[in-house]
Subunit: 342 residues, 2 copies
DNA sequence: GGCATTCTGATTGACGTACCTCAGAAACCT
DNA sequence: AGGTTTCTGAGGTACGTCAATCAGAATGCC
């Protein structure tokens, strides 16, 4: 026989359909004893509500907002593409998404954008932005208004967000460290670390993980202080050129952030490309080509498709007050080399 | 306004609901001209059928069978667990799955099991089994009976299977090769390759990819002929012991199949563990621990959760005659080291 | 016991689709 | 024109749930 329905529950509990409905939807007007009887019946029969029938009946539409940094970052670009693709594929699943671009470098406009969200018209928000106290407060306000919030890519701990969708950046840094050490192979040498901003939470965490591994497992390799590129390719070129001459025993470069265009350009200009071990983050059209051309040795990345699908699933689950399927929502740290390029 | 419904289509095309229904479900009894009018209306309004409402209405139950090798393989074990977990989570999505265990080493019983499937009670089959001409024929029979078939983990080309859910084993072998070469670091040395059966399709493909990379990128490393363990730990121990003494310059071991228990035991006994670079396939409780203990340097794997979810999605799509979302169904070759263990 | 209050049952109409029947319209064939 | 076949329309029931109404039962209170 098939799955139990509300009718079966009603029969089993010896109450009417209306009462079952009231219990299931936590509506008032049912005595405690009756509530228990119904819940016992639900347990016994192993009833699970048919979410689709329910959504059909209540004409549900999940309206989500994704607050993403604007700008020319290829990573955010692929993320946005994945989001559009996923929502298109899920149109049948009654999900509509709007992307809210914010200038990420300006905490004030981020907060303004968050506060300007049309809360009563929203069922959930995904946020990818650096953590500031103001952002934390804005998230808390959203939560207080009853809107589920998930942090995307970069966590917002202590903000009361419902969930974090992204990788553990400490582990990502450690992973990069091991690959760097083993790929270099030599016992001695220097490793350069570059990033967009040394203040970004993910950069800090990656650096910590990277340093820990290098210190423990590859003591012969010296890791130089992080260098900031601040999204400026020119600056990156200058910095790399200087480093290459200043450190003749430079053996590797770890790019923690997203300024890979400038990095590659600089390496090409200095003629050290293919010679240094280069490890970068995020698989984008740029890093993909660089992997194929053997200009980058490995990319540590997170699958943007998984990211957005996970965010959507989690938001939906939070809306429905349903538990999430942990194993499916754990975003993995992908190691991509030329040979396993997806 | 919301998504268009069949009612909107009927109005737009100037026909009745019944006619729209006949057209949408390819039922007979509609003139060609009318069919065109309806399809034009579908195009114009951008109608997409609400699959869930449809399934609700037709009381659809997707009944799938998974034909999996029986035996004590940990990989198959985790796969089965993932399958149960996924179907439990998807119970609300009207899928029921039964696992059909077959003795994989016996092609005859595989074929017998395939032919014994209760075809009229099945909506789709996923098969994980070595490829033989008889299996190909059995798959063709299933297809002929109108049952969608997907190959799982190990492809069945030329069998007419609808889809292959799994990784490209040639690339997986190449990936292992690059990691092996770079992890070893030394210019000279020997590499041993072990597998369960040198006849399995996946082993053959992995070996090809591995050899290609080693020959091209690490000419100083000598790859020894594949050694078969035939699921026998004793045999594995003997083989490894012999290899270690016969090749004092042994630098690495590549385990292509699933006999990792014997391999690890043998390496421990010979005292060479932690000294050799070891690369294995499939993340299981066993390899997970070995990674943590630094007994294995890297594991090439495929996420069993993705595998089964993908198989289920593809089967459902085939049942519904709907296209699949390619990007989501591409199974990635995961590289797992100690630091990015999920 | 009478009354107000709180629970409960029975019923109904959505939601978007599938599938069925039956009658009647339109087209085809001689 | 007549009869036959092929199309089409109208309408119904069902699926599992939500939401609402209204009448009636049970309970509490004095």
């Amino acid at each position: 026989m098939g799955k139990p329905t509300v009718h079966d529950i009603a029969k089993e509990a010896g109450v009417s359909l209306a009462t079952v409905d009231r219990v299931l939807n936590a509506r008032p007007g049912v005595r405690d004893k009756t509530v228990e009887r119904v819940q016992a019946a639900v347990q016994r029969l192993g009833y699970v509500r048919d979410t689709f029938a329910a959504n059909l009946a209540r004409q549900r539409q999940y309206r989500f907002a994704f607050v993403l940094p604007e700008g020319e970052s290829q990573f955010v670009g692929t993320l946005k593409d994945a989001l559009l693709e996923a929502t298109e594929a899920q149109m049948a699943e009654r999900v509509s998404v709007r992307v809210v671009p914010v200038p990420s470098y300006d905490p004030h406009s981020v907060v303004r954008a968050l506060n300007a969200l049309p809360v009563p018209l929203l069922d959930g928000v995904a946020i990818m932005t650096p953590e500031t106290p103001q952002v934390r407060d804005a998230v808390a306000r959203l939560k207080a208004a009853g809107v589920p919030v998930v942090a995307l890519v970069s966590d917002l701990p202590n903000s009361g967000r419902d969930h974090f969708v992204g990788i553990n950046n400490l582990s990502a840094g450690s992973t990069a460290g091991v690959l760097m050490g083993r790929f270099i192979g030599a016992a001695q040498g220097k490793v350069m670390v570059v990033t967009n901003s040394i203040l970004a939470r993910d950069s800090i965490e990656r650096r910590l993980g990277f340093d820990a591994v290098m210190a423990e497992s590859f003591p012969g390799l010296t890791v130089l202080p992080s260098i900031e590129s601040r999204d400026d390719p020119e600056r990156m070129v200058a910095v790399i050129r200087h480093a290459v001459t200043a450190h003749p025993d430079l053996a590797g470069v770890y790019s923690m952030g997203s300024g890979n265009r400038g990095l590659l350009q600089a390496l090409r200009e200095t003629g050290r490309i293919g010679d240094l071990t280069v490890i970068a983050h995020e698989l984008t059209p740029l890093t993909r080509v660089a992997l194929q051309e053997r200009e980058i040795d490995a990319v540590i990345t997170q699958n943007v498709g998984h990211l957005v699908r996970s965010a959507l699933r989690v938001l939906r689950a939070k809306c429905d007050g349903v538990g999430i399927f942990e194993a499916q929502e754990r975003i993995r740290i992908d190691i991509v080399i030329r040979e396993n390029l997806p």
